[in-house]
C-alpha cells in the first residue's frame, strides 16, 4: 500500500462515484480518543506481513478479493493482508459450521478449489484468468444450488469470503469516505441528528443521481 498523499484520497472511479467530495476521515482523527486513533491509524500504515497464506494462496486470494470488492487497480485497501492477519491470530467470528472446517482451513481449501477449477477448465491458475472469467467462477459458487462445491456447501463458502472481505474493506477510512461515513465519533458525538441534518464536518451526497436503486426500480417498472 504505497500511496503518496498530496490531497485527500479516494478509491478509484467508477465504484463509489466520489459522492462525498472532500470527506477526509483521518483529518477528523484529532477529535477521537487515543485508543480509537491507535486502532484505526494502524490500518493506514504498512500492512502486516503475510504469515498465514502461502505465496500461491496470496495470488488466488488477491484475485478473489479484488473481484469481490471491485478493487481493480492501485491504490487498494490491503484486504488480503488484513484477512491473513486475522487467520494468523485465529481472530474468528466465534463459530464455524459443523459441515465446514474451521475458518483458517476453509480459506485454504476454498482457495485451492478455485485454482483447481481454473486448471481443470483452462490449464492456468485462478489469478491468471481474465477478471471477467474470474467473476464467472465466483458467480457459479454464489448461485450454486448444489449441496457441495469441492466438499463444502457453496453458500457457506460464499459467506466466508464475503464476511472476511467486507469486514476488512469496510474497516478502512478510504472505504468510509466512499460511503459518506465520517468514522469514530468519540468523544465528540453528534448534535444534528434529524432527517437531512448534518454536522459541520459531514459532507452532503454530491451525486444523488447515482442512487443505485434507480436501476432496480426501472427494472420493476418495465
Amino acid at each position: 500500500m504505497t500511496r503518496a498523499a498530496p490531497e485527500p484520497l479516494h478509491l478509484p472511479e467508477p465504484d463509489g462515484g466520489r459522492r462525498y467530495p472532500g470527506l477526509d476521515v483521518m483529518a477528523l482523527s484529532r477529535h477521537w480518543d487515543d485508543a480509537t486513533i491507535a486502532a484505526v491509524a494502524g490500518r493506514m500504515g504498512m500492512p502486516p506481513d503475510i504469515r498465514f497464506f502461502t505465496a500461491g494462496e496470496v495470488a488466488t486470494a488477491s484475485a478473489l478479493c479484488d473481484r469481490l470488492l471491485a478493487q481493480d487497480e492501485d491504490p487498494r485497501v490491503p484486504v488480503v493482508a488484513f484477512i491473513d492477519q486475522r487467520l494468523t491470530e485465529k481472530e474468528t467470528d466465534g463459530w464455524h459450521y459443523d459441515d465446514m472446517p474451521p475458518d483458517d482451513q476453509a480459506w485454504r481449501d476454498s482457495l485451492a478449489a478455485l485454482d483447481e477449477d481454473a486448471r481443470r477448465d483452462h490449464g492456468v491458475r485462478f489469478d491468471e484468468l481474465a477478471p471477467s472469467a474470474q467473476v464467472e467462477y465466483l458467480q457459479a459458487v454464489q448461485g450454486s444450488s448444489e449441496d457441495a462445491w469441492h466438499g463444502m456447501p457453496p453458500g457457506r463458502v460464499w459467506g466466508l469470503w464475503t464476511r472476511y472481505a467486507c469486514t476488512a474493506f469496510y474497516s478502512h477510512p478510504w472505504a468510509w469516505e466512499e460511503i459518506g461515513f465520517t468514522g469514530p465519533a468519540y468523544p465528540r458525538g453528534y448534535k444534528n441528528r434529524g432527517i437531512d441534518a448534518r454536522e459541520p464536518f459531514e459532507v452532503r451526497d454530491d451525486r444523488p443521481d447515482l442512487d443505485p436503486t434507480k436501476a432496480s426500480r426501472a427494472r420493476g417498472a418495465r
Binding site: 464455524h96 469496510y170 465519533a185 448534535k191 443505485p212
Partner: protein, 543 residues
C-alpha cells in the same frame, strides 16, 4: 430530580461510585477484597454478565463472601474499547464453537460476550419487560411452556432494575402497562422514519425503552449519541453490569476474578453437593472452594459447563438426570428491513435503540400462527451494513455502489418469538478448546410457527418503511439473542432448575442467567435476566 435516584441509590450505589467524570474508579479495583482458593466462600459465581453481576452485587450487600470468576478481562472502557467496529472483536466470545441444524445460528458478536459485564457490554440497550402472557404460553395458546413463576413474581424486580440501570422511555401501554424512571430520549432521523411510517399504517410506537441514561445519573454522564452502542459504551451512559452493578459489588467486598476460565464444577459424589469450581488462570489450574456454586455463563457456556462436569454419580452432567441440560435453547427471529429514502437519514448517528412497537407481541386470534413479534429501530455501522447489501447478492462494483448510498437508508429490526423446541440444543463437540475441554455444539432448526412469524414481521416492516416513503426495501434474515438451555420448570422431568433457580439434583448448585428462561416473548432478554438474578438473590438470602 425525580425521587427514583434516591431509592435506586439505597439499593445500589454503583453510579455514585464512578469517578466524577463518569469513569471506572480504579481504586475500587485496587482495593478489592481478595479471597484464597482454600477459603470456602459463601458463593462462587461463574460469569460476570447480566445474571452473575446482579446476583453478586445483591449477595455482597447482604454480607455474603462472594467470588465471581469471569473468563474474560476486567475492562477499562477508556483504554480498552474503541469507537470502531472491527477494533471491537475483543468484546465477543470467540473461543471455538460449532453450529449446525437446519438453521445454524452464528454466535460471537451477535449474541456472546466475554469479560466483566458480559454481552451487555455490546447489547444495543433495549430493556423491555416480558408480558404477563409470556409466563403461560402453554396454558394460553398450547405452545411453548408455562413458567413455574408468574409475571407478578418478577414485577417488583423489574421496577428495581429499571431504576438502577436506569431506563428511559415513554409510558408503556403494552403487557403490564407501566412508566419508566427517565423521560424518553430525543429521536433521530432513523427513529423519525419509523414513527412516520408506523403512524401512516396505524401501528403504535413508543420511544424506548432503553437503558441509556437521559441526563446525569449519579456520576454516569448523558448519552452523546455517537452510535457505537454495539461496540461498548465508552461514555458509560449505556447500562452494563460493569457500571451498573460491579462498582457496588466491589464496594461491598465481592471479589471479581477476571481472566479465569471455569472448566468444571466439582461435586462430591458421596454427599451429592457441589464443593467449588475448577478454573484456569494464567495457565494454572486452580480450585476455588465454595458453599454454593451459581453458574451464570449464558445459554451456550452454562450447558457446556454442566455437561463437562459429569461425575460417576451424575454421568450425564449436573442437573441432567432427565436429559434436560442444553435443550430448549431459543433465539429470536430477527429479520432487519432497510428502506431507501431520497433524503439523507444517516442512521448511524444516534443510538441504534430508539423506537419500539409491541403492537403485534401477543397472539392474534385471526392469524395462522401463535405468539408474535416486536419491531425496533436498529442502525448498522458500515461493516454490518455491508452484510445487508451483500445478503442481497451484490458484490464487486454493485456492492460498492449500493454501499455508497449509505446515508439514504433507515433500518428496522424485528424480534420474533421463536418457540422452545427440545432438539434445539447445546451438546459437546469432538473439538477441544485450548484447555482440552470439548467445545459446545449448538444445533438450531426453525419450526413452522417460527417461519410464519418471520414472514409476518418482515411484511410489517416493509409496509412501515414504504408508508414512510421508502423507494426500495431490502431485508436480511437473521437471529438475535439466546435464552434457554437450562430452563426453569416445576419438576426435574421438564427442566434443569426449580422456581428458585436451584438445580434439580444438586441442592447447592444454582443457575442464574438467561439459560433458565422457559420462553422468551419478543422482548430483548437483558432486563428479565437481571430481574431473575435479583429475585434469586432474595430467595437465597432468605434461607
Amino acid at each position: 430530580m425525580k425521587g427514583f435516584h434516591g431509592q435506586a441509590r439505597g439499593r445500589n450505589e454503583s453510579a455514585w461510585l464512578l469517578t466524577a467524570s463518569g469513569g471506572l474508579d480504579h481504586r475500587l479495583r485496587e482495593g478489592m477484597r481478595r479471597f484464597d482458593d482454600e477459603e470456602e466462600v459463601d458463593v462462587v459465581v461463574v460469569g460476570c454478565g447480566a445474571g452473575g453481576s446482579v446476583l453478586t452485587q445483591r449477595l455482597a450487600r447482604r454480607g455474603w463472601r462472594v467470588v465471581v470468576l469471569d473468563a474474560g478481562p476486567f475492562w477499562d472502557p477508556d483504554t480498552d474499547w474503541v469507537s470502531d467496529e472491527a477494533g471491537s472483536h475483543d468484546l465477543y466470545w470467540t473461543e471455538p464453537r460449532v453450529i449446525g441444524g437446519k438453521n445454524p445460528v452464528p454466535l460471537g458478536s451477535n449474541n456472546s460476550g466475554r469479560g466483566v459485564g458480559g454481552s451487555m457490554i455490546h447489547f444495543a440497550g433495549y430493556t423491555p419487560r416480558f408480558h404477563p402472557s409470556d409466563f403461560s404460553t402453554w396454558s394460553n395458546d398450547g405452545v411453548g411452556a408455562d413458567w413455574p413463576i408468574s409475571y407478578e413474581d418478577l414485577r417488583p424486580y423489574y421496577e428495581h432494575i429499571e431504576a438502577e440501570l436506569p431506563v428511559a422511555g415513554e409510558d408503556w401501554p403494552w403487557g403490564d402497562p407501566h412508566t419508566y424512571p427517565q423521560s424518553p430520549h430525543e429521536v433521530s432521523a432513523n427513529g423519525q422514519v419509523f414513527q412516520l411510517g408506523a403512524a401512516a399504517c396505524g401501528i403504535q410506537t413508543r420511544v424506548g425503552p432503553v437503558a441509556i441514561s437521559n441526563g446525569r445519573f449519579g456520576h454516569r454522564p448523558h448519552c452523546i449519541y455517537r452510535g457505537f452502542c454495539l461496540q461498548g459504551c465508552k461514555v458509560n451512559a449505556k447500562a452494563s453490569p460493569l457500571v451498573t452493578h460491579v462498582p457496588d459489588a466491589l464496594a461491598h467486598g465481592a471479589e471479581i476474578r477476571a481472566d479465569s476460565m471455569v472448566t468444571r464444577v466439582e461435586v462430591d459424589d458421596r454427599t451429592g453437593e457441589a464443593t467449588g469450581v475448577h478454573y484456569v488462570r494464567r495457565g494454572v489450574a486452580r480450585f476455588q472452594r465454595a458453599r454454593i456454586v451459581a453458574v451464570a455463563g449464558y445459554s451456550i457456556e452454562t450447558p457446556r459447563l454442566l455437561l463437562n462436569s459429569a461425575t460417576a454419580r451424575f454421568p450425564n452432567g449436573l442437573g441432567n438426570d432427565h436429559d434436560q441440560v442444553g435443550r430448549y435453547v431459543m433465539v429470536q427471529g430477527a429479520p432487519q428491513t432497510a428502506g431507501r429514502f431520497e433524503t439523507e437519514i444517516r442512521m448511524w448517528k444516534g443510538p441504534p435503540p430508539e423506537v419500539s412497537s409491541e403492537q403485534s407481541y401477543e397472539t392474534d386470534p385471526s392469524a395462522a400462527y401463535k405468539r408474535g413479534f416486536s419491531i425496533q429501530n436498529v442502525a448498522p455501522q458500515p461493516i454490518t451494513w455491508a452484510e445487508h447489501i451483500s445478503a442481497q447478492g451484490y458484490f464487486g462494483a454493485d456492492l460498492r455502489r449500493y454501499m455508497s448510498d449509505y446515508p439514504h437508508w433507515a433500518c428496522l429490526g424485528a424480534l420474533c418469538e421463536f418457540l422452545p423446541l427440545p432438539d434445539n440444543r447445546v451438546t459437546l463437540a469432538d473439538e477441544k478448546d485450548r484447555n482440552g475441554l470439548p467445545v459446545a455444539h449448538f444445533t438450531y432448526s426453525m419450526g413452522e410457527n417460527d417461519k410464519q412469524l418471520m414472514k409476518a414481521a418482515r411484511a410489517t416492516m416493509e409496509h412501515i418503511l414504504q408508508a414512510a416513503g421508502a423507494q426500495e426495501v431490502i431485508t436480511i434474515e437473521r437471529y438475535a439473542h439466546l435464552v434457554g438451555g437450562a430452563r426453569m420448570a416445576a419438576d426435574a422431568e421438564h427442566g434443569v432448575v426449580d422456581r428458585t433457580c436451584r438445580t434439580f439434583g444438586v441442592p447447592n448448585l444454582y443457575v442464574t442467567d438467561g439459560s433458565i428462561l422457559p420462553t422468551q416473548g419478543s422482548a430483548n432478554p437483558a432486563l428479565t435476566i437481571m430481574s431473575l438474578a435479583a429475585r434469586a438473590a432474595d430467595l437465597l438470602a432468605g434461607h
